[in-house]
Symmetry: C2
Subunit: 117 residues, 2 copies
DNA sequence: CGGTATCCCCCAGGATACTG
DNA sequence: CAGTATCCTGGGGGATACCG
């Protein structure tokens, strides 16, 4: 199912372990998938919207902006008509890929092991 | 900040990529940290509550039950008085650790690189 | 100690409509 | 095509109180 992420009411940081920094990036719903698809190479807005089947334009924009502000994703506007925008992983974003791959790998193991969670 | 995870309204699976299985496990708020602390060895309820500073008993119970039902965590009641309960990672849970370590590692890189996200 | 029960807040994110 | 604006909702999860 889709996952949503929220801050808690206090707004404080509960992550008191080494996971904080990276989870702050990977935390948002769709985020890991977004990075996963971008890891295949630059991708345009509408392509990503297709990749992430079911995501709303609003959330895609939100996540992309968030990742852009965190220097994970690069946004490049191509001077075409109609305008097209290309998103790609920054160097930092690329560094997240191994972690995501590790997740994918375990996910696969789980799937193989017992077709169902 | 603390992260909350929610299902979407449709209840459908948006994860249309290899991340689904594992993220379904790691998705919950506190979950990665919980597994992280358990990776150090068996731990009791109150110890975990201390580890995960700020978590409510309710959520800790919820997450532990969820992970137990997903065969990630094992719950063992020790016949002591007062009663104590020991939680530990199952074999499956142990397989999640490398993925989490990968996340930790990237998080550390990020921290080193620019002390702030 | 190791939980469960209740109450309720809150915002991530979906749906829809519109723009340059 | 690539968004932005607005409205709304549901369930995650905090706070608190209580139990065996």
């Amino acid at each position: 199912m889709a996952l949503k992420m929220r801050k808690n009411q206090s707004g404080d940081v509960p992550y008191n372990c080494p996971l904080s920094e990276c989870m702050a990036i990977l935390g948002g719903a769709w985020t890991t998938n977004l990075i996963w698809f971008l890891s295949g190479g630059p991708r345009r807005f509408s392509e990503l919207k297709n990749d992430l089947e079911g995501i709303s334009a609003k959330m895609l924009t939100t996540r992309l902006k968030e990742l852009e502000s965190k220097m994970v994703v690069d946004r490049k506007v191509l001077p075409t008509s109609p305008p097209s925008v290309e998103y790609s992983l920054t160097e930092l974003g690329t560094e997240l890929v191994p972690a995501i791959n590790a997740i994918v790998e375990v996910g696969h193991k789980i799937k193989v092991r017992n077709g169902k969670l």
